[in-house]
């Protein structure tokens, strides 16, 4: 059936790896669910008028007192858990993806230039990266969040929350990309095809982007997937600590924070369901990243 696929090509390896297939399936399912949340979610968790306190603290449908209208139960405000999670995943994914893309562009750009030019430029960039690396990601994010709170007026702050959060996460992740891009560039720039381009007198920018970048994209792709998972986790952590998104537009982290209050009071679903959801999402993305790493490791092919 799959005879048309070339052996040992990435896609062949993919259909022969059950863990990668399951991970890809779960990731795709969650992304689709988040993307089409307004269409498939039973209710809109942002619309305060759509839920009533009367429906508060309902357990999932398989437990006594559960109602079929709320398959996974409701929180104390009467919000449907499924809807909250789908909308929350939407926010988490948007923030995670955007942060990852910003970190990639920033990190790869700086790393490529540092590796290509070397010398003092390289030293400065990499020392900045070292300082960045010495600060835990959460601390960086807290710092940026604090600065934003300090300088922005209160009205704008509420609207800027997502932007500030994204930037904070991106700034704590770019170092990974910069280091990998720099190391790979060091290897590539001594190869003869790069020398040929230099002899020809090609512009350094062209050599970096057209000659070197396509050759170092493999390891970067791996980091992109792994860091996507990190970005989502980081967002969840910040929201959990209360410096992320507010309770009226909850992301996964915010949902978990809300659920914490009910951890010991018997309403387990408010905490556990978003937590399990987050774990599944992050693990699935990580498994995909591992699979990509295997593909780009020529020793295993």
């Amino acid at each position: 059936m799959l005879a048309f696929i070339k052996r040992r090509e990435p896609f062949w390896l993919f259909v022969h790896s059950p863990s990668a297939m399951i991970a890809a399936f779960l990731t795709a399912l969650i992304i689709l669910g988040a993307l089409f949340a307004p269409l498939i979610a039973p209710s809109n968790p942002y619309d305060l008028s759509s839920f009533s306190l009367m429906d508060g603290l309902l357990p999932p449908v398989w437990q006594d007192g559960g109602r079929s209208a709320f398959l996974l139960g409701t929180d104390d405000q009467g919000r449907d858990m499924i809807s909250s999670i789908l909308y929350g995943a939407r926010l988490s994914l948007v923030i995670g993806l955007t942060a990852m893309v910003i970190a990639t562009v920033l990190g790869v750009g700086l790393g490529l230039a540092a590796g290509y030019f070397g010398g003092r430029f390289d030293a400065v960039i990499m020392r900045i990266a070292d300082v960045q690396l010495a600060l835990p990601a959460i601390l960086t994010a807290l710092l940026i969040d604090g600065i934003a709170r300090g300088i922005l007026p209160t009205e704008i702050q509420q609207n800027m929350r997502v932007t500030v959060l994204t930037l904070a996460i991106a700034l704590s992740l770019w170092v990974n990309f910069a280091r990998t891009a720099r190391a790979s560039t060091f290897v590539e720039k001594n190869k003869e095809y790069v020398e040929a381009a230099i002899i020809m007198g090609q512009h350094p920018l062209r050599i970096m982007l057209i000659q070197i970048l396509p050759n170092i994209v493999g390891p970067l792709l791996v980091i992109m997937t792994v860091d996507l998972a990190s970005a989502i986790l980081l967002e969840a952590t910040l929201s959990f600590l209360g410096i992320g998104l507010p309770a009226d537009s909850p992301s996964l982290g915010t949902l978990i924070r809300i659920g914490m209050q009910f951890l010991l009071s018997g309403e387990w679903w408010i905490l556990w369901i978003p937590t399990v959801f987050l774990i599944v999402l992050v693990v699935a993305i990580n498994v995909l990243g591992d699979f990509l790493r295997d593909i780009f490791n020529p020793g295993l092919r």
Binding site: K191, E195, I198, I199, G201, Q202, P214, N215
Partner: protein, 563 residues
């Protein structure tokens, strides 16, 4: 002693078995050096691995028998095979850099090996190790034995590897390309040592190599392999001197002789008739386009008192590190329209000179002039300096000189676009396709990626790329040292043809004297960054003046012409 009968080795795969070795028979007598020669992929190393029982999984011996004296090597259990390895069969590998453990002293490695096979005390083992090192020509063995591998030079390190193979007193030693990584002077010493060991200790050697000169110099008998099948076997002088098999005949014709110059190599599958046809019909447009750009007369290159220094190793925290002098007052004159050969051992500064000419390395002193054009040094030469187009380079490694992520059409289109020759994408593509034909490839190569080509084809593509810049001066840095002899002959023919047609001036860098003899009009010999001798190629090869040149010529393994 070693008898291999009808050996067949298979590598199973999803699409049926791949037969790497088909019905190979050979034998090695005590004290005999049996050469195993063939081009890459012929299965030389696979035979060696099968004999010593180290075939890479999933390869397996499908048929045939291998016996060492009365021991059947095929029926040995894993444990028995392990004991037999080292004790009765040893191996010498190609690269002495990697076949010794860098973290253990030579003494530890030798003693460990001796004690693994014999129940003797450490002091006795050590004494034996010292005797061995002395026997294979390491002076002060008593103290040198405590050194680490990196404290030995390349040739000495290969001697240590030989001592390691020898220390258990084996009957048979498999030497897999033992001198390929070494310079000629060291190579000749190591080969002499192998010959001496075969004669004095009656050890049988299975000498695996692609270098026919090496075989001619020391092997008693030779087996020629191709695609895992024996083409010809017999006494060395008979097989190499009067080859019967057509493949061996072709192979011998492709070997460049040191003592005379051939006009062209006769290459199997490329007879001269079809070659001239190609020049007329195919690649016509590309040839016209190139000739249109060659209107002005040929260009020479003059180098005057060029010195290149690199930052040396720091010996003290306070003192400035002493510079390492890579080139020392080198002067060179490449006459317009000729080929200048540049020879020397590794570390003599050949490649540094090429890099100085192309501006990749900045010389400390001296001048480089391309005809009437002064070439600024290093980064002082701007990106738009006219020499960026006029000087082009063919690199040694065809695997890394083409960007693996771009299609051939794109790679070859780059110079056309960059120098503004052909802004129109369609015309550019036509010209590239035609240029591919000019260098002997089919135009459908244009949409493929570099990894879809063999080394020789890639080198043709690399040559095509340089031509598309309409260069006047070409630097070829070891353009054929990564290629098999028959492929080497094709590439050398191609370069000769192109040089004659377009009046190019070429600096041809090689460590292989025979190749330089075939290609060059003039030759310069470099050693430790200094010019030792320079002159017309016939003069230097037939009447060398410098001692060093004489030595190089004498030590280069050649096939005797009186066979």
């Amino acid at each position: 002693m070693l008898t291999v009968q009808d050996l067949t080795v298979r590598f199973p795969s999803r699409f049926g078995d791949f037969t790497a070795i088909k019905g190979v028979s050979l034998s090695v007598a005590p004290g005999e050096i049996h050469g195993l020669v063939g081009e890459s992929g012929a299965g030389k190393s696979t035979i060696g691995a099968a004999v010593i029982g180290l075939l890479q999984s999933p390869g397996y011996v499908a048929e045939g028998s291998m016996t060492l004296q009365d021991t059947d090597l095929r029926t040995l259990s894993t444990d028995q095979a392990h004991k037999m390895r080292g004790k009765r069969i040893s191996m010498i590998f190609q690269d002495p850099q990697t076949s010794l453990n860098p973290l253990m002293t030579v003494q530890d490695q030798l003693v460990e090996t001796i004690q693994a096979h014999e129940d003797i005390s450490k002091t006795q083992a050590r004494k034996r190790a010292i005797d061995l090192l002395e026997e294979i020509g390491i002076k002060n063995a008593e103290t040198r034995i405590r050194a680490y591998p990196h404290q030995f030079s390349g040739g000495m390190r290969q001697r240590v590897v030989i001592a390691l193979a020898l220390c258990t007193d084996p009957d048979l030693i498999i030497a897999d390309e033992p001198t390929t990584a070494l310079d000629v002077a060291v190579q000749s010493q190591v080969l002499g040592l192998i010959r001496r060991l075969a004669d004095t200790r009656q050890i049988g050697f299975l000498l695996i190599t692609h270098d026919i000169g090496v075989i001619a110099q020391i092997a008693d008998r030779v087996t020629v392999l191709r695609h895992g099948i024996v083409m010809e076997t017999g006494k060395t002088a008979q097989v190499l001197g009067k080859p019967k098999n057509p493949y061996t005949v072709d192979l011998m014709k492709a070997v460049p002789p040191l003592d005379r110059r051939l006009d062209r190599f006769l290459v199997p599958g490329e007879d001269r008739k079809s070659d001239t046809d190609r020049d007329q019909a195919k690649g016509d447009k590309a040839e016209k386009w190139l000739l249109a750009g060659q209107k002005d007369p040929a260009t020479g290159l003059a180098i005057n008192d060029l010195s290149v220094r690199f930052v040396g190793e720091r010996t003290s925290l306070w003192r400035k590190p002493k510079p390492f002098i890579a080139l020392n007052n080198v002067s060179l004159d490449v006459r317009p329209g000729t080929i200048m050969g540049l020879v020397g051992e590794s570390g003599s500064g050949k490649s540094t000179l090429a890099k100085a000419i192309t501006g990749l390395v900045k010389p400390a002193l001296g001048t480089i002039r391309l005809q009437d054009l002064d070439l600024p040094h290093g980064r002082d030469r701007g990106r738009h300096h006219p020499s960026r187009r006029l000087i082009q380079m063919v690199f040694q490694d065809p695997f890394s000189s083409l960007n693996a992520r771009h299609r051939i059409g794109y790679i070859l289109g780059e110079p056309l676009l960059h120098y503004g020759f052909e802004p129109d994408a369609k015309l550019r593509r036509n010209l590239v396709a035609d240029m591919l034909e000019l260098v002997g490839l089919t135009p459908d190569a244009i949409d493929k990626y570099p990894h879809q080509f063999s080394g020789g084809q890639r080198q043709r593509i690399a040559v095509a790329r340089t031509l598309l810049a309409r260069p006047k001066f070409l630097i070829c840095d070891e353009p054929t040292s990564a290629l098999d002899v028959s492929i080497q002959a094709q590439i050398l023919n191609l370069l000769k043809d192109l040089q004659a047609t377009f009046g190019l001036t070429i600096l041809f860098i090689s460590h292989n004297l025979a190749v330089v003899r075939q290609m060059a009009d003039d030759v310069t010999v470099l050693r430790y960054g200094k010019v030792v001798e320079t002159g017309k190629v016939e003069d230097v090869f037939e009447r060398p003046r410098a001692e060093y040149t004489k030595e190089l010529l004498a030590l280069t393994p050649v096939t005797p012409s009186d066979w």
